[in-house]
Amino acid sequence: MVNILIIIAISITLLSIAVSMLRFILGPSPVDRVIAFDVMSVSSIALIAFISVVSKRVIYMDVALVYGILGFLGVIVVARYLEKGM
């Protein structure tokens, strides 16, 4: 029963990643692409958590933690570059 609920949640999250990929393709300025990248990385954190619950392994949550740190770092670096240079 609970697996069915988690599978529904996984499919909705995949749909959200696909819609933000559309904005990544269309976006006119680099800022739009960076914000699409940020939304995709945050959605991927939820996706990794769902996968780790479905396969019942706690070690997969560490990957989500590294993911969060690295996505944040990437957005900060790009914003610093766009504003004035590192």
Binding site: I7, I10, S11, L14, I17, A18, M21, F24, I25, P30, R33, V34, F37, M40, S41, S44, L47, I48, I51, V54, S55, R57, I59, Y60, D62, V63, V66, Y67, I69, L70, G71, L73, G74, V77, V78, Y81, L82, G85, M86
Partner: protein, 80 residues
């Protein structure tokens, strides 16, 4: 179940690789290559290799993006 996730993530990764090669703005190309690396990390996770996924996310997304933007900034300062 995991096959469907792998197909959708793989198609998104393919689109990101196409943008990384064929876009004329260099910063957009670097962001797209970081995106490909993040999606490859999910694919490694689906193959039950969390250590490889962690290394791929750290090196491919963090360090490569940082070094590429550092070099791009150096080039921009020299051209000014």
């Amino acid at each position: 179940m995991f096959v469907v996730i792998a197909i959708i993530i793989g198609v998104a990764s393919l689109i990101g690789g196409y943008i990384a090669i064929h876009h004329e703005d260099l910063s957009v190309a670097i962001i797209a290559s970081g995106l490909v690396s993040l999606f490859a990390s999910i694919l490694f996770l689906l193959l039950a290799a969390p250590d490889v996924a962690m290394t791929e996310a750290a090196i491919g997304s963090g360090l490569t993006t940082l070094i590429f933007f550092y070099v791009l900034n150096k080039i921009r300062q020299r051209n000014d």
